[in-house]
Amino acid sequence: MHLTVEFTTLEARRLWTDFLKRLDWSNRHLAGPEREEANAEAIAHIAEHLAASDLENETDRLREALNRFGVLPAPPPGWRKPLAIGLHYLAIMVIGASGLVILTLLHMTVMEVFNPTSVGLYMYPEDRVLTLSYETQTGARELLGAWFIPTLLSVSALAGAGLYGLWRVALSPDGPVSRWMKP
């Protein structure tokens, strides 16, 4: 079932197009044919109202019919879905890569227990680059000493909490990004 209603004025056409978009969006939870039928039924309702109205002006008639039908939610802007998809896949990559880094940090923490003289955070005197290493770095100074384990555990916990937050926002089915991805 497919129904159309024609309007002559620009304002009425604009109102009608906006209504059709909102109507289709509000019925988005329905499957294809059911959605089309629900839309058609609402359009038939508005058409009945327009035919029964005493108002002379087409736009006023439509505005009255739409007001009585009730406010429908506006669909999200067109750019939101592609942005959400981009954020979703970016979050997968970030969580995957960062997760591997956290696992490495945790592994180094464990290895520090068995090999405290070699595992550490090193810095060479000539450059300012920090190096995490399982082996003693000749000519470099180890920076953390006994603080290696608590520091790495703290960094891992903070990074883990950050990744969990990112998962909640960008990947969880209840998160905003997942909701934005839905049609």
């Binding site: 039924e41 038939a44 309702h45 109202h49 029964a52 009730g70």
Partner: protein
């Protein structure tokens, strides 16, 4: 208690009370004869508390009742005007209406009995 507080309380209460009543009212309207959406809305708007009913809210309820087997629906082309989707109460819908009315009547009796106790 100031007026606006009472209005808020009554608004909240009546919106809850209307939900169950609404479905019963829809079934009662359709029991009286098949009808299409616009016609149903016009009837419902005559009931107290439904004068300002947002007309679009009727359709999801009708769709749910159809899914539950309480009503059937059929599109019928008209000579003039748009085609109309007519709703008819099924046997199940008729029995459900009867049961709903019975529950409503008993609730009303209990409420009345409580009020009588208080006044005596």
């Amino acid at each position: 208690m100031i007026g606006t507080e009472m209005d808020e309380i009554l608004d909240r209460w009546s919106s809850q009370a209307r939900k169950g009543y609404f479905e019963m009212l829809l079934l009662a309207r359709l029991k009286a004869g098949r009808a299409y959406g616009y016609q149903i809305v016009a009837s419902l708007k005559q009931a107290p508390g439904f004068e300002n009913l947002a007309e679009g809210t009727v359709y999801p309820v009708l769709a749910r009742m159809k899914k539950d087997g309480l009503v059937t629906a059929e599109w019928i082309a008209e000579d003039t005007g748009p085609p109309r989707k007519y709703y008819t109460v099924t046997d199940l819908g008729g029995r459900a209406l009867h049961a709903m009315q019975e529950i409503w009547r008993r609730m009303d009796e209990v409420l009345l009995a409580q009020s009588t106790k208080e006044t005596s």
